[in-house]
Amino acid sequence: MKLTVNGVECQVASDWENENLLMVLREHLGLPGTRFSCGIGQCGACVVHVDGAPISSCLIPVADVAGKNILTIEGLADENGTLHPLQQAWIDESVPQCGYCQSGQIMQALALLKETPDPDDSDINRAMNGNLCRCGTYDRIKKSIKRAAVVMQVLD
């Protein structure tokens, strides 16, 4: 079975074909930036993009995404290490506390900005409400999304 992850074609060994996408990424393909938290698609920590759409990778059997394009947090910065505007905004606003949910938050925010390049508070609430942060960094996440939106519109 093959997947394309962050633009690289990856082979999934047969022992791992019964796993969910999250565990294949983390334990088989060496991409642990996508985190396991609730296991039932209730918290958003494991959000990745499959063919451009955000999805909870803990819920998806890897077999269901064979041949598809997967984007994970490790694929956001460019090859020179320049961070994506969302990642940079997360640093500029000093968002992370424990940090565990932030990969999923950033991937969900990326999906929001693709659909809604200039989101208001209610757009952000709607899009981000499934992404839990026990440390309570929501206020800074909201500010970071708005900050990144400005940068991305300029870059466009």
């Binding site: 022992d15 791992w16 019964n18 796993e19 969910n20 565990m23 983390r26 334990e27 060496g30 991409l31 642990p32 930036g33 996508t34 985190r35 396991f36 938290s37 609730c38 296991g39 039932i40 209730q42 918290c43 920590a45 994970t72 947090i73 490790e74 956001l76 910065a77 961070l83 990642q87 997360w90 640093i91 000093s94 968002v95 992370p96 506390q97 424990c98 940090g99 565990y100 949910c101 932030q102 990969s103 950033i106 952000i124 609430n125 709607r126 981000m128 409400n129 499934g130 992404n131 839990l132 942060c133 026990r134 440390c135 309570g136 960094t137 929501y138 206020d139 800074r140 996440i141 909201k142």
Partner: protein, 726 residues
């Protein structure tokens, strides 16, 4: 290379202290079963700072990082003392063999306990280097002035640290007979370059790029996956067990059963899930596990009817028959940690000849405790065990015990291979030692002018620090002769009354209990601040004026917080109309942290919801080492306040834990967020007070008081739901 440390034992290995943890050996053994409580002093290895031959600075980070970013603050202190930038400090996270034992990371103590030893260490090193610089520059020491990353003469001849240090290792010892070096950090007249600035948390780039920073992220060749069955309560024993389907699971390797410990090891994570699903276990409980039982055990009125409670915290001319203006019962339900990372551990046993026979990677607030417990569990000597501490995806007091580490150790030992264990979300809810339920009876009497005459607060709480299964029973029975330090937190109010009594009982509950952010601080202060608010309303007095007056000038720092939050909250008018309310509350945590909070709420009859619209907070933090990170901690505590006041309820029923995931234990979400206005009150002349738990003591009563203001309903039980409001 020049480094500062307390004893020459570091010499042998450069970084490594080996097994020679001389100073603490005795204390260590005396407390082998308790959390590590060693607090650093000027001589301890906690204050370990090094200037390397290239002039760069290394320090080890003495705290476990779990989001509080205390190490960043400590690095700022080292940078201030050594005239460096914090980004120039190379930070090293020590393992348990690198340095002597360090206290469990808990209790908002990191900056309070470590700031002065760390500053002293770095300043001692600086002054040693100044002596070298004076020689090199042929100047008196007094004419050898500070310069960025080194020293200079009055006419600007410079030496960098690199010019003063060579490859030979020199240990500088803190010499008590010499005058103490000037601590720049604590010099309130100094214009500081590092301390007091909102430096970005060190390691933040790793967190936004998905770098491997948590235990389960570390790659291991050939690692196997395992998990153990967790009982609903730790004192349960297995009543029946059927594992017959396990061996048919594809990828299954081994079933491990040792007494009441049952676990599996498999090739892949999904095989573990499948194998665990094949284990059918029932438990024998020692007492019924349901909400009625919890309510019965903390029933403060029933206990007070029997006579004095177990511990008298304050007793001053107490009168039982005063003319009580306030006589209210407050109840607080069980809450749990629900950290975003389900805890994980990796264990590996090594062959003879290896430096350590057992290696454990784990994110735990008490790595040195883990080393002792693993040694006891396996029969190994303590110096044969090493813990590699990892970042925690949230701690909040819930990660101090040898639990997931035990699972990994026992499974790894059984299969003689490296085993990774990560709890499921359900495991986290089942086995995180939650904050107990408590019930409070609060009676206040006042004279005609409205001044307090009598104060009587009795409360019953489940155990916290001395909860069952936190210590072995032989030690627990001795320890429980005294008060449970977690239960007494927050009990004594800041208000003055000639007649006062505060008493409490700490009891066992049928669930496992432990330390949770602010311990009993938030529940007790919810009761105190709600009762005072109600009395102010009864007296037709402004609650803030009333509270300040009843402190009788005994708490000027708290009074200042209240005055500040009143004026901050006045910047934004409460919306006009039915259902809007504003409430205030304040409190002192650990005698050293001062906070006041306002909350604006809307009680919406149409959606039947209570919405927190706006919160203001003024917090006196002592020296604000990193205002941005202090603000972050306050934000976090305000969010937890909303959860505690309105959402979080840990459910038990039918002899089992019912809360199992985020779909049946609600925590605050993005759409629940109010706007925030926070003021960090910096008192640079006072040591940092810590901020990890403080604002949580005043947030819930501020919200409750706002609901009272909005609706006329006095919330008596947390969490508050719309249906409570009649």
């Amino acid at each position: 290379m020049v480094q500062l440390n307390r004893r020459k034992f570091l010499f042998a290995t450069g970084w490594v202290a080996g097994g020679a943890t001389l100073l603490y050996t005795l204390r260590n053994h005396a407390l082998a079963v308790a959390p590590t409580i060693i607090i650093p002093d000027e001589e301890s290895g906690a204050a370990w700072v090094q200037i390397q031959p290239d002039g760069s600075c290394r320090m080890f980070f003495p705290r476990i990082d779990m989001g509080q970013n205390a190490n960043t603050g400590l690095a700022q202190i080292v940078a201030e003392e050594l005239n460096l930038k914090v980004e120039e400090i190379d930070a090293v996270a020590p393992n348990t063999s690198d340095v002597p034992p360090l206290a469990v990371t808990a209790g908002s103590m990191s900056l309070t306990a470590f700031s002065r030893p760390i500053a002293t260490a770095a300043a001692t090193l600086r002054e040693h280097l100044r002596e070298r610089a004076a020689l090199k520059l042929s100047q008196p020491i007094a004419a050898t002035l500070d310069e960025v990353g080194g020293f200079r003469t009055a006419n600007n001849r410079r030496v960098h640290y690199a010019d003063l240090v060579d490859a030979a290792t020199t240990l500088v010892e803190f010499d008590e007979s010499k005058p103490a070096p000037t601590l720049y950090t604590f010099d309130s007249k100094r214009t500081k370059r590092q301390v007091g600035h909102s430096v970005k948390p060190l390691g933040i780039r790793e967190l936004v790029t998905g770098a491997p920073v948590y235990t389960a992220d570390i790659p291991f060749d050939g690692v196997l996956f395992g998990r153990a069955v967790l009982p609903p309560v730790r004192n349960a024993s297995i009543a029946s067990l059927n594992t017959s389907g396990v061996s048919a699971v594809k990828g299954f390797i081994k079933l491990v059963q040792e007494g009441d410990f049952v676990g599996v090891v498999c090739k892949t994570p999904s095989a573990v899930d499948a194998a665990m699903a094949q284990i059918d276990v029932t438990w024998h409980l020692q007492e019924p596990l349901n909400q009625n039982e919890i309510d019965r055990l903390v029933d403060v009125d029933a206990k007070m009817a029997e006579g004095d409670l177990e511990h008298i915290l304050q007793d001053q001319a107490h009168r039982i028959d005063a003319d009580w203006a306030i006589d209210l019962r407050f109840d607080v339900q069980v809450q749990t940690h629900a950290a975003q990372e389900p805890r994980a551990a990796v264990a590996r046993f090594n062959d003879k000849g290896a430096k350590h026979k057992l290696e454990i990677w784990t994110g735990n607030q008490d790595p040195w405790g883990m080393k002792r417990f693993a040694a006891m569990d396996t029969g190994l000597a303590e110096d044969e065990v090493v813990i590699y501490p990892q970042r925690l995806g949230g701690g909040f007091g819930g990660r101090e015990h040898y639990e997931v580490e035990r699972d990994a150790v026992r499974l790894a030992r059984a299969v003689k291979q490296t085993v990774k264990v990560q709890w499921t979300r359900k495991d986290e809810f089942t086995a995180s030692r939650s904050r107990p339920a408590s019930a409070h009876r609060l009676r206040i009497a006042a004279d005609e002018a409205g001044n307090l005459t009598d104060w009587w607060h009795g409360y019953v709480s489940g155990h916290v620090v001395l909860a069952r299964e936190r210590l072995p029973s032989w030690l627990l029975s001795v320890a429980r002769l005294g008060e449970d330090m977690g239960v007494v937190k927050g009990g004594v109010s800041p208000y003055n009354a000639p007649h006062q009594r505060v008493e409490c009982s700490d009891v066992d509950l049928p669930i496992d209990l432990g330390v949770w952010r602010s311990l009993n601080g938030a529940p007790a202060i919810f009761a105190i601040e709600s009762a005072m608010d109600e009395l102010a309303i009864q007296q037709r007095l402004d609650p803030v004026d009333f509270k300040i007056k009843q402190m009788a000038e005994a708490h000027p720092r708290l009074q200042h917080c209240l005055e500040r939050v009143r004026s901050i909250s006045a910047k934004q008018a409460l919306p006009l109309g039915e259902g809007y309310g504003r409430g205030f509350a304040s409190g002192i945590y650990e005698g050293r942290c001062f906070v006041a909070i306002s909350a604006d709420v809307y009680v919406d009859p149409e959606t039947e919801q209570i919405k927190v619209l706006h919160m203001c907070c003024a917090q006196d933090v002592g020296m604000a080492v990193n205002p941005g990170q202090l603000r972050a901690q306050i934000e976090s505590n305000l969010v937890w306040s909303i959860g505690m006041a309105l959402f979080e309820r840990f459910e038990v029923a039918d002899n089992d834990i019912q809360s199992s995931n985020f779909d049946n234990y609600a925590i605050v979400r993005m759409s629940d967020m109010p706007s925030l206005d926070i003021e960090v009150i910096d008192r640079s002349e006072i040591a940092p007070t810590g901020a990890g738990e403080t604002a949580l003591i005043a947030g819930p009563p501020a919200i409750a008081n706002a609901i009272r203001n909005a609706s006329g309903f006095r919330p008596l039980s947390l969490p508050i739901s719309f249906s409570d409001i009649r």
